[in-house]
């Protein structure tokens, strides 16, 4: 890939970061009043032992984002904070900072999402490829209708159903949380197993829904690819059907799937937020849910910014990796 393409893609990423920060800053102001100030003042009025700290926060906020300040100055103040990854204190959990709370929750989400996305992408893509292949076993065709039907359902709804069946009716798996109550997080086998058990149902809800989508897309691409001249020629070359399947059909048909993956990350994440909420899984989604309940604007803004940037980064990485798989993009004739 040429330098200029890399620079352009990084530029897109920078735009996404700026966009995320600006959304956070401007959207709450659309309603005419400043909901952050309102909430802060409410919280300050409550009093309590954290009173002094909240009062300081209000003062600082008024100084930097006060109504007497011009909008652009407030905006640049905000951008400055974001650039330093300073998302302020959590309003509802005062002495704790937003950055701290996000740092605690984000590994859970990254773990759950990367595993489920990878698994469903790989399984679904392979399945779709096989479904299009004339020599695949016939019973595979029967897998498709249920997978399609599952694909149409939101993640969290399947989560509810699985929760009822596998955690409530037949208590095979834990119903709630990221690890058992009372267990201290530690790097022991027992703890890891506990975490895996807790993550199984949330992961299953995401995987079972996603597989159908990848399979559907891949099957369509495979059918198109199998009609290409180079596949006909490969057959004319007397190649083994496994070679044709893997190196001619699948290898080419997977390229659009990867583009689709980059585009789907946002949707997957949106769905996963709700899965976390339903299962009380201690990731970003549940944290966001709490923040919304407590009207903790700083926390909400911090999460939204972090997640948008993280996804932008994931997309950037996929974009940069893609040319390694498609030589037509790597090479530019001079």
């Amino acid at each position: 890939m040429r330098m200029i393409d890399i620079v352009r893609r990084c530029g897109v990423f920078a735009v996404i970061v700026l966009l995320a920060a600006s959304l956070n800053f401007f959207l709450p102001k659309l309603s005419g009043q400043d909901p952050v100030r309102t909430k802060l003042l409410q919280q300050a009025a409550l009093g309590g032992y954290v009173h002094q700290g909240i009062d300081d926060m209000v003062k600082l906020y008024e100084k930097r984002f006060g109504l007497d300040r011009p909008l652009w100055e407030q905006y640049f103040n905000y951008l400055g904070d974001v650039a330093r990854l300073d998302f302020n204190y959590s309003i509802a959990n005062y002495p704790r900072t937003v950055a701290e709370m996000i740092t605690e929750a984000i590994p859970w989400t990254i773990g759950l999402l990367s595993m489920t996305t990878l698994l469903s992408f790989v399984i679904g893509t392979l399945l779709g490829a096989l479904l299009a292949w004339p020599r695949a076993p016939r019973w595979m065709a029967w897998l498709m209708p249920p997978l399609w039907a599952l694909h149409a359902i939101p993640f969290f709804l399947l989560g509810l159903i699985l929760m009822y069946l596998l955690a409530f009716q037949v208590p095979l798996l834990p119903i709630f949380g990221g690890y058992s109550v009372g267990v201290q997080p530690a790097l022991s086998l027992a703890f890891v197993l506990d975490v895996v058990r807790h993550a199984t149902l949330p992961a299953l809800s995401i995987i079972l829904v996603s597989i159908g989508g990848w399979a559907l897309g891949m099957r369509g691409m495979m059918v198109t690819t199998m009609g290409e001249d180079y596949v006909v020629f490969a057959e004319g070359k007397g190649l083994r059907s496994l070679t044709i399947f893997l190196r001619y059909c699948l290898r080419n048909a997977i390229l659009p799937q990867i583009t689709a993956l980059a585009l789907a990350l946002g949707q997957i994440l949106s769905g996963a937020v709700l899965v976390e909420v339903i299962f009380g899984y201690p990731g970003i989604g549940t944290l966001l849910f709490q923040a919304i309940r407590e009207n903790d604007h700083f926390l909400i803004q911090g999460i939204v910014f972090t997640v948008i940037v993280a996804l932008g980064l994931a997309t950037l990485i996929l974009d940069l990796v893609y040319p390694l798989l498609d030589p037509r993009i790597t090479y530019q004739r001079s």
Binding site: V12, P28, W148, A152, P154, L160, G271, I308, T315
Partner: protein, 282 residues
């Protein structure tokens, strides 16, 4: 009519999808005769009754008759989806045509915005919007909030379609025969594009419903409206699952599943109609 029936027999997805949606319509319409929709408000009936002859779907903790909630809420949820979906596709169509027709700068900008917008997880942006204007969102406002992002995907897909129709030369012929810009778009491309637009619309409605339910489950929906998503919010809020009040979540779950299945199969069917070449591979 005969032709329609014959077509349905060939396009099974469309048949299944439309039947499911029809089933929901029948449920809502007959429901209005069977049950008093006022019972969808809190404190109308005895709380936490499991399904019985009197309350076929049971009642919730705040004293709503869940059958009444479903009868009243299903159309509300569909309304949010359709308002947002139609707005999204309308905006998307205009932008896509502008991009594909004028090309150059207009195209670069519109495409750039749509591509970047799609990288951003929609639910989070909607959350920021909803939090900002929090406090008594009405169902229609909810639809507008969802519509604010519902145009991104239609813009992208319709633009691609318009470009590919252009490639296939529909426009060239029209241009040679002396039609002006907007006329070319309308008369030459629209008829070929209609099936795609229909598929895109159904898809957009489905995404909009998904987004609205997401916001509602997070507690950002119209608090006193009995929509399907709000019902699930209360389910989660009251920990109905752990408490064993299975009927509370069963009804909205089944109906939402039917809505999404119906819309999904209609989309697949319309895709097949728009692109009969796919049929052979099925």
């Amino acid at each position: 009519m005969r032709g329609l029936i014959r077509y349905f027999r060939r396009n099974l997805s469309l048949l299944v999808g439309s039947s499911l949606l029809l089933l929901l319509v029948v449920f809502v319409v007959t429901g209005h005769f069977v049950v008093d929709v006022e019972d969808a408000r809190a404190l109308s009936v005895r709380p936490l009754q499991p399904p019985s002859w009197r309350y076929p779907f049971g009642t919730d903790r705040q004293g709503r008759d869940l059958l009444a909630v479903m009868v009243a809420g299903t159309p509300l949820t569909l309304r949010i989806g359709f308002i947002a979906g139609i707005l999204g596709v309308a905006i998307g169509t205009v932008l896509a045509f502008a991009a594909a027709y004028y090309r150059g700068w207009a195209d670069t900008i519109i495409r750039g915005i749509a591509d970047i917008g799609l990288t951003v997880p929609g639910l989070l942006v909607l959350i920021i919007i909803a939090v900002g204007i929090r406090g008594g969102l009405s169902v229609n406002q909810m639809a507008l909030v969802v519509a604010s992002l519902a145009w991104l995907n239609p813009t992208r897909t319709i633009r691609a379609q318009v470009l590919s129709l252009r490639e296939r030369g529909y426009v060239e012929i029209a241009r040679m025969s002396g039609m002006s810009g907007p006329a070319i778009i309308f008369f030459e491309l629209m008829p070929n594009l209609l099936p795609y637009l229909a598929a895109t619309l159904v898809n957009a409605v489905s995404s909009a419903i998904l987004a609205s339910i997401g916001l509602e489950v997070l507690g950002l929906g119209p608090i006193d409206a009995p929509t399907l998503g709000m019902t699930l919010y209360w389910v989660n809020f009251n920990a109905a699952m752990i408490n064993g009040w299975w009927w509370w979540w069963l009804a909205p779950t089944v109906i939402i599943v039917l809505v999404f299945l119906g819309l999904f199969f209609v989309t697949v069917g319309l895709d097949e109609y728009a692109n009969p070449r796919l049929r052979k591979s099925a």
